[in-house]
Symmetry: C2
Subunit: 147 residues, 2 copies
Amino acid sequence: MNPVVKQTVERCRMAGLRRTKALEELIATLLEHDRPMTLAELASSKRLAEQCDKATVFRLLQRLAGHGIIRRLGLHERAAYFTLLVPGKHSDYLICTSCGSIEAIQAPCPVHQLEEEIRVKTGFRNLYHELEFFGVCPKCARGERAG
Amino acid sequence: MNPVVKQTVERCRMAGLRRTKALEELIATLLEHDRPMTLAELASSKRLAEQCDKATVFRLLQRLAGHGIIRRLGLHERAAYFTLLVPGKHSDYLICTSCGSIEAIQAPCPVHQLEEEIRVKTGFRNLYHELEFFGVCPKCARGERAG
DNA sequence: GTAATTGCAAATACTTTGCCACGTA
DNA sequence: TACGTGGCAAAGTATTTGCAATTAC
């Protein structure tokens, strides 16, 4: 099993969750796609479609989000997106408003200092941020895909 | 009439939209609240509740977003949020995950340079970003409001 | 006069829950 | 054994659309 999957399942165990097949497949699926995914995408993905019901995936996502193992994101679509939180790793995203493609941005995030200032000035706890860039990708701009 | 409302309605007219009472009230409502609002909030706000149907507000929001007068935001809630785009003004937001309060952040946005790099490297068109900070506000942390 | 806009009601889309069966610890 | 989990189906919430009537230009 992929070491990050193993490590994440271990975090789930620490948090008091039971080690089920569905849990492992969900984490593996999120990890191998390496981008935020919707409930519908997850529930119909190869690993999970055969494994369990959509309601189960939903409840798993809820539990994992509650324990800080995954995070729920907005991203403008009607459906919510979920992304695996790997300790020490932070991602911002670049999203095409035409075809809906989503990719993680590699560049170092320029927001940490502002985040620190906000933490100090406002007294907010458990502060984190989300940064997304939206635009029309070159393919869509060329008309290769309709939007 | 508030000059920003007037100016924004004028932009709508330029874009080919008709000047209706509902349009003016919608823009005035968004402006006076000065924070992103949901369709439900807007449709039930004092100015709009008496003015028109929720479907009308929905379609107005759609049209305005299509013409770049307002923008649709994610913000983690199930409902979509909408914010007025005033030329030359950019806001990032600080959101309490416990009570749901939303406030605009005054500090200059630290993302412009990265945005420029992304524009150049990826060839994305019409690029813009959204930056939100989430956390638990001091009131909620003190237990004044349940979460 | 003509096309955009609106209201009402019905249809969708996505999420969330109830209840009882099942599996992990 | 006990309690977290899972399946199925039904309910809930927010969005989106059809169509005939109305209104801005």
